[in-house]
């Protein structure tokens, strides 16, 4: 018997607006508990929400990028339920008229190309966090996250394999990052994915689905899908039935547990939020947002090849993450040297990122400093070794290139007499007699060794070409 897996995704993305959805509090992650709160986001009696327009704009950007129709008169609704992390006991969300409808995203996997339908994108507010203290058995509430804006991107049940899910999420992540609407840090919870999954015999009726939560990485998602697919198939094979329920994935144990079934499902008693006016999106506003849309990744790749003469391979690596392509474009613009910039980022920068396990989203490096270094090396003010050294210092310690170079004496020595002096000293050194003999005997490699000695004498700042010709001249 052939089983088919049918999946749909609900992706919550925290918007990277500076302030919260209904008040001026900061959205920064990781502040001291309850340090980013005010009467509004902590839901004190009598407060009213005031919509942050940037939230609607970010949602519109996501909707436009995902080929949605923008709802011109969209409304907010209240979703009512009791939980200690929800101080108003209702979440402002959208049920009846979400801001974006009917979108799609093209994905590509080994199985080929596929279009995933997007049912809607709606705006909502995040809840706070409960912190359990296992020692005292007490639970504390941190409202910092209360009112951080979210969009929920709801797909159609168009996925048939875990690969498709991951391909969609990667593409979605790339899109949101490019738009600058979400930083997509799964470990900080700014991107959260719920997977709705059912299985059926190929071509048969849709099966009963479960919803999986607490998926904290793409890897976890892939594992959870595999686990849930197997679990449902085993159940059905043995004559059992799948129960419609919410399940919680435990990544350490590699299993999921049922949290609540449909029978216990809450009635959220949605109704229109009376404290907020509908969001009316007129042509002018929509056009303004359309014009402000950043270039999508695939367009960027084409441009890098045509405009900058990069290879397709180089272009696609540089556009895997917005932080990387932003850095590339900044350095490029400031140095005017696309090829050199690409080499620097694809080479030294990525190597150092690998070595330090720095993720692209956490990359923080001053593009101006890199541009300065590129100019210095191309103008032969520093040599390649010094260049590498300073790049590393900028990457690890945010060093100021000019200061670092002066301090370490890395300005290239382009003075003939100094170079000749160093060459003479090295050649006069008895310990180098062997190498000199070797070179004269036709062993070209020996010149490299001698050059190294001269460079050492020059504190690493010698001009390689000058050193080489001076040595060759002296050894004639």
């Amino acid at each position: 018997m052939i089983w088919e897996t049918v999946m749909g995704l609900e992706v919550h993305a925290e918007l990277s607006t500076k302030s919260k959805i209904f008040c001026g509090c900061s959205t920064d992650f990781g502040g001291k508990p309850n340090s980013h709160v005010c009467p509004v986001c902590s839901g004190l009696p009598g407060v009213l929400p005031k919509l942050n327009r940037a939230v609607a704009e970010y949602a519109m950007k996501a909707g436009i990028a995902l080929n949605c129709t923008i709802t011109r008169n969209c409304k907010l609704d209240r979703k009512n339920y009791f939980y200690p992390d929800l101080p108003k006991a209702y979440q402002v969300s959208q049920l009846y008229a979400p801001i974006c409808l009917d979108g799609r995203l093209e994905i590509e996997t080994d199985e080929g190309k596929k279009t995933i339908g997007i049912r809607e994108i709606h705006i909502e507010e995040d809840a706070g966090k409960l912190i359990h203290n296992p020692k005292s058995g007490s639970t504390h509430i941190d409202f910092n996250r209360c009112g951080v804006p979210l969009i929920e991107i709801v797909s159609l049940p168009d996925f048939r394999s875990g690969n498709q899910v991951i391909a969609y999420l990667e593409k979605l992540r790339e899109t949101l990052l490019y738009l600058g609407v979400c930083d997509c840090k799964m470990q900080e919870g700014s991107l959260r994915v719920d997977v709705n999954l059912s299985v059926r015999q190929a071509g048969g009726e849709l099966g009963v689905r479960t919803e999986m939560k607490n998926l904290n990485s793409f890897k976890a998602i892939a594992r959870a899908i595999e686990y849930e697919r197997e679990r449902q198939i085993e159940l059905l094979k043995s004559g059992g039935e799948v129960v419609q329920e919410t399940r919680r994935w435990n990544d350490d144990k590699g299993v999921s547990y049922g949290m609540r079934s449909k029978e216990n499902a809450q009635d959220y008693r949605y109704f229109p939020e009376p404290d907020l006016l509908p969001i009316f999106i007129d042509n002018e506003w929509l056009e303004k947002i359309c014009k402000s849309m950043p270039e999508p990744a695939h367009k960027k790749r084409e441009r890098y090849v045509h405009e900058y003469g990069l290879t397709e391979g180089e272009a696609s690596i540089l556009t895997t993450h917005k932080n990387i392509s932003d850095l590339f474009e900044e350095v490029c613009k400031k140095s005017g040297e696309p090829k050199e910039t690409a080499n620097l980022i694809l080479g030294d920068i990525m190597r150092m990122m690998n070595n330090t396990a720095t993720l692209p989203e956490n990359l923080k490096i001053d593009g101006r400093k890199l541009a300065v270094l590129i100019s210095l090396v191309l103008e032969k003010k520093i040599n390649r070794n010094a260049y590498k050294e300073v790049v590393e210092a900028v990457f690890t310690n945010n060093a100021e290139p000019a200061d670092y170079i002066t301090e370490k004496g890395l300005i290239m020595v382009s003075d003939d007499s100094v170079t000749t002096g160093a060459v003479n000293t090295v050649l006069a050194d008895a310990s180098n007699t062997g190498a000199i003999t070797d070179y004269r005997a036709g062993k070209a490699k020996a010149l490299g060794f001698l050059m190294g000695q001269v460079m050492k004498k020059l504190g690493g700042a010698g001009n390689p070409e000058m050193v080489k010709s001076a040595l060759e001249e002296a050894l004639k």
Partner: protein
Amino acid sequence: MKFDMNALELSKLIKAKELSVSEAADACINAADKNRYNAFLALNKDSALKRAEEIQKKINAGEEISPLAGVPIAVKDNISTTGLETTCASKMLGGYIPVYNATVIDKLEQAGMIVVGKLNMDEFAMGGSSETGNKGAVLNPWDSERVAGGSSGGSAAAVAGREIPLSLGSDTGGSIRQPCAFCGVTGIKPTYGSVSRYGLIAYASSLDQIGVIGNNIDDCAAMLSVISGTDNRDSTCVIEKPFDFAEAYDKRLDGVKIGLPRNYFAQGIDGGVKRAVLAAAKELEAAGAIVEEFDMPLTEYMVSAYYIIACAEASSNLSRYDGLKYGYRSPNAKTLSEVYRFSRSEGFGAEVKRRIMLGSFVLSSGYYDAYYKKALQTRALIKQEYNRLFEGFDMLISPVAPTTAYKLAENLNDPMKMYMGDIYTVSVNLAGLPAVSLPCGFDEKGLPVGFQLIGDAFSEEKLVGAARVYQNRTEYYKMKPGVAK
């Protein structure tokens, strides 16, 4: 009593230095301290006296603050006041001390008014008699065995009893106008969206509106000018600039067309109320107005639509009182679910629980379309009808309540009877319209009768003008409890 005068007179004396701000505040604090009508729930003694001195200094320095500078006021207990216990007359919010001021409080303080205390009400503004609060019923100054009306009963009784010259109330379905009628004082329920609701502890967000209660229309208008206007913390407050009543008419109403809903007087209305309200219509006619009768449509749906919408919103608005963050927490609760269940069961009174349950029911899946959605459609029709009426009329004249003040506890166990008492007031809130409530005589028991003038959205200037004309021609608003009859 030195203090037995209206607010604008008082501020004139203060400005002329014939009376100090502290003396005025002190007189109110003493009256509030005696609390003869149980109108006050909390007193702001120390900080009020401190504020009085600050305002006095400014006045002495010749600073022009506002026409109401130095006037003591009191505030319904569902309006948030920094540092001053705000309970909505509920055990649920016992001990809750807000950390922020409602926008209206900030505006009143900037205008130099002194908040001396918080006023009793129906619990969470749910009721028409001010008997459901956890600190007992407000007594009607005209007859202490009778209710003051509600839910802003404390706000009306304190003004009627001359304990305070001006007060703030809130009106969700008649909660300013009806107690004004029962206590023989003047009140304005402004257009929805003309006064910020920020800091008004919500009962039904789409209907709630803060308004003013005083001894005459000029005092009320002066205070409304101060509190109206935009507020960037309330996006439903859509008014462009504060009301200015300087130009409102005060002599004649020539050519002003007033509609009189014939069917409001047909049945279920006390004879004394009917006589007094029709006499008021005659008085307006005598001042030049053209009064025309019409049949108010949809009256049989108004109370139902109102209670469905108000309770639905209330069920959501009152969910935040969960026993976890502030106010009452049941000492008997051991688990999270018990904290919710016990705290809410013990903290809320019967009427509040009735409305939460009703509201939860009409929003629940399977019933939403049959009740809540239908009520919204009814509301839209009522709005349409009012729009149509205001194409022909400048304003409407109507009774405020079918009866005068009833005996304490008389209607407490008959919610349907209590709800039907709102028949003349709720449609104004459903349509978001302004109305003024004015004393217009007494019934055979010597109890005050009130009438209301209802206007189109943001037509407060017209209403205040008509009220001025009416009060310039009549003496009812000057009557004091114990003096009339």
